[in-house]
Symmetry: C2
Subunit: 317 residues, 2 copies
């Protein structure tokens, strides 16, 4: 089926900023918006979103608009859940409420899923059929794109790579389990491990902020303790990614997020820890790439969500 | 798009028997075939398959026929690989060769994927959108059905649940990794563990065949050693299934294969070991069911493959 023509509005709501764009059918951002989010009530936030749609020319851009946000989207109810970054929207029927304000159909997507969809559309995964997008930052997010579409799962929780158990007897996780990938390879996991080791080992890291960036720098400079922390995070990521690959035989893993700025020093270790745990042909099928779209991924992915929704359900002519 | 009408031929080739059926559009087997496989060459086997298609009225049943087999199907080349059960077909372009003999389009599918597709069509997973089918037997096979379609991955290896690493320092596996699920919860894993424990612990199992069935019986009768083996297998399966659920937020896990005959005694343990490692909402979304279609799953799944192929690419009218 041909893709509909015209431009598409995509919004990317974060905990601090709202980004938006009018996006061409080829995936170029033609017009941008970037503003601090309105604090307080859901009402204020929804009004801000509606104003953003209007300023981006929402009505010219198809009947569907896309909105990515840091929470779980329940596709059946149109509600947002588990959204600590935008707590005012927890439990709110954002699609209905914003639809009412704009007269358009609002399609929601989890932000990691939206970013993954963008990478699969015009980014590092644009030539592949099955892709996992992973964001390494404070937490570990992931989005699965299969056959050009987000696979969000039954209630929007697919891609919970951060909660795959990688250490059976590991640290308790906020989710109720223990040894989840995020407890080791999320920013707090790096810090915890560094603190544990610092109590008994000298290191360049003594007295410094125990953030992934600093730790990678120290490891690069030859610090044994820092290298131990980096290797532990890479190993945990390898366990999780190997499970994903053995289950899904993906063509591509795209890695983004702040921590991915550590580049090959970290990436090469993650790839090797994945390799030694993955069925050989499955590993051979997969390429590991850094994300290409940076901060634009969320807006592009949200616009792509709108575009695909229009294709699935075209206006009666 | 409406499903095409008429009957469909599905073949299920195993290491010992060829099963086949003419299957109605509603998933009933209208006519059956069950015969020992022709030994020897690929030629003999392909001729037997062609004869089976003719006897099932292949030409009346659409332009597509489906064939499930115990190997990896490379969708791009139409070749069969990693098929120790039917070694004569390794590397053979089975789809082309059988197509030439029958004048029909032959669609191949891995046998676990075909069985999963059947369960998602008219079996235990028929009301769900995302499902993992797991066969517990000598090995551990799995098939992933997402949105009513098999997700086979880039080169047909998706669903390699048996090679998800569940014990980082576990036994070496034939695939080159170590601690794969199959090394613990495949039939040889049960035996190895029982043998290890028998060397130092008295048990009802002494002198008995160390097969999953016998071990489950002894565990049921209160034998501590046997219970230890059962719990170890359940735990390993829980680690693998929890990873699959956290990644895919599936509605359903369907468990089949000979070992699943152990029923709730084993199944309840697997479910509990999965629960304690899975994100709570993701676990709540998933139901665990025993397979419903038994030995018919392969034939039904192969017929469904043919039916879906006909829908995707209907004859020009």
């Amino acid at each position: 089926m041909p893709l509909p023509e015209g431009d598409w509005v995509g919004l990317d709501l974060g905990g601090t900023f709202l980004k938006g764009g009018r996006v061409s059918a080829e995936g170029r951002i033609l017009e941008r918006l970037h503003e601090p989010i309105a604090g307080g009530s859901a009402e204020a936030l929804l009004n801000q979103l509606a104003a953003a749609v209007a300023s981006l020319g929402g009505r010219r851009a198809g009947r569907n608009i896309g909105l990515g946000l840091p929470g779980i989207v329940d596709r059946r109810s149109g509600c947002v859940r588990n959204a600590p970054g935008v707590p005012a929207l927890n439990g709110v029927s954002v699609a209905d409420e914003l639809g009412r304000r704009t007269g358009l159909r609002v399609r929601l997507e989890n932000d990691a899923n939206a970013a993954g969809l963008a990478e699969a559309w015009v980014g590092s995964g644009r030539d592949v059929d099955g892709m996992l997008f992973v964001t390494l930052g404070t937490g570990i997010g992931a989005g699965l794109v299969l056959g050009g579409r987000v696979w969000a799962g039954h209630s929007g929780y697919a891609g919970e790579l951060g909660h795959v158990q990688v250490e059976p007897d590991g640290e308790p996780c906020g989710c109720g389990s223990r040894g989840c990938l995020e407890t080791v390879a999320g920013a707090r996991g790096w810090r915890r491990r560094a603190e544990q080791l610092l109590s008994r080992t000298p290191s360049l890291l003594a007295g410094r902020p125990l953030e992934p960036k600093t730790i990678v720098e120290a490891a690069r400079a030859g610090d044994a303790l820092a290298l131990d922390v980096v290797n532990g995070a890479a190993r945990a990521l390898g366990v999780g990614l190997a499970a994903a690959l053995d289950l899904l035989n993906l063509e591509c893993v795209v890695i983004g997020g702040g921590v991915s700025a550590a580049g090959p020093f970290l990436l090469d270790r993650i790839v090797e820890e994945t390799r030694c745990r993955t069925f050989p042909q499955v590993f051979a099928d997969c390429s590991f790439r850094l994300a290409a779209l940076g901060n634009d991924a969320g807006v592009l992915g949200a616009a792509r969500v709108a575009m695909l929704a229009e294709r699935d359900d075209p206006p009666a002519s």
